[in-house]
Amino acid sequence: MEENQKKELLELFADKLTRAARLYLDNCTRCGVCIEACHVYQSMPETRYTAVSRAQNIRRLYEKYFKLSGKIAPWWNEAVELDDAWMDRVWETAYTCTGCRRCMTFCPFGIDTGLIQSIAKLLLIGSDREPKVLTMLADVSISKGRNIEATKKSFAQAVRNLEAEVIEKWRSEGGEEAVPLDVQGADVLYVALAGKHSIVPAAAIMNAAGEKWSLSYFEAVNFGAFVGNPKKTKEIAQRIIDEAERLKVKEVAICECGTAYRVMKHMTGKHSFNVITFVELIARYLREGRIKLDKSKIDARITYHDPCQIARQGGIYEEPRYILKHLTDDFVDLQSNRRASYCCGGGGGLVIMGDKEFRMKSAKVKVDEVKATGATILATACENCHSQLSDLMEYYGLETKVQFVSGLVADALVQETASRKVPAATSEEPQLQLTAKAG
């Protein structure tokens, strides 16, 4: 590695050394509690797949370049030189980890391995070693934000083409658009993904609830966050923030996409609007009696996978369960659930990057838990998780069908004939408990 590049990379490293980052880099005692916490290690028990080992790849650089002990006695804390060979270890830190932060919940010091991972991702970007597909997708998102006027008309037409499918799930009221766009003063701006599976069920549910809503022109997912580029993350999120402010909406409801929710809720500062997940909105509709579901539509045992970004990192545990208990009397949790849920193995950009063998092998622990429930439907509330879990079910030969919570709800909507308003929830209905429980 050339000296100039090394210098630039160390400057990037130094920029990430906040007080919190220094705390996490300084404080590991190698107790090893995190080892068993990682789904990758549980499925593929190799030392390099432990949280502590991944963090050490960065910590040893930190010792070398940012600590006095590393400068005068590098052997003391195993300080290492930053060179091309060590960048392979940096890659392992960044991309054999999904950033699920399960290890963090077990660490007695609460060391945020996600933050340490973000240093690794930044070093990879700085040395032009990051996964190019993630950068390309981030650039595409940014380009869309800059040229939205050019694509608005065709996107609107594509949305119009979906309206018949929305009306099939829920009738449209006379004179109303089934998928409204650009609604000034809407109560909810719904930010979907590009696929119709993310638009049609959500539209039917919001129409059934009589919501005053508007569909965003932008997709929710933030590839800037996947690749670990703070500047691109912000620029991609800003497109949605600008749209929400322009329309003066009260809430931005993020579709079933974990990273999109975490970025908008926790990484973009304060807004003039509230940020919620779509499952929170559905739970609200049920609680307020604005939609009603027909339990007889589903004759299956359902289990639920907690998406890491929505659950462990977002605190949304009970709403999806509350919804699913309106759909079946046979709901069963996975053995590791809520805060302790294992990652699906597809997070952090891995599901896009193409190394399917690693994704499949590293998530076997999740498959074993799904199998043990005997459930025939595995519900989830994240696109990334849905793709990964579907691949897992196919790879391991399970019949369990992976479905979005919103899709299940839309298919079970009770079509009211007189009034769209239905009576408020009774005490016999499943109660929403907002206190998070560890599994």
Binding site: K144, Q157, A158, A194
Partner: protein
């Protein structure tokens, strides 16, 4: 019948976001500079994604057609 001389057809129908653009990105180098790929997709977002991808990568979307149930996009490799 397409008015374009198509070198390759990519059937990306049913693929969820962002896979149509990922696949396009992987396949663009399988044709020569100046040749055209015809893409079939069902993602409504592709209408915005493909022009943005072309803009980012220096290629060109020649034409987009919306048909019942799918979207047809013609992409020319420029470099």
């Amino acid at each position: 019948m397409s008015a374009h001389a198509v070198a390759k057809v990519l059937d990306l129908k049913g693929l969820p976001c962002p896979m149509p653009v990922v696949k396009m990105s992987q396949e663009i180098n399988s044709v020569k500079v100046g040749e055209i790929i015809e893409v079939h997709t069902t993602d409504p977002g592709s209408l915005a994604d493909f022009p943005a991808w072309a803009d980012t990568t220096g290629n060109e979307v020649l034409e987009t057609k919306q048909r019942e149930g799918s979207i047809q996009i013609f992409v020319k490799r420029l470099k």
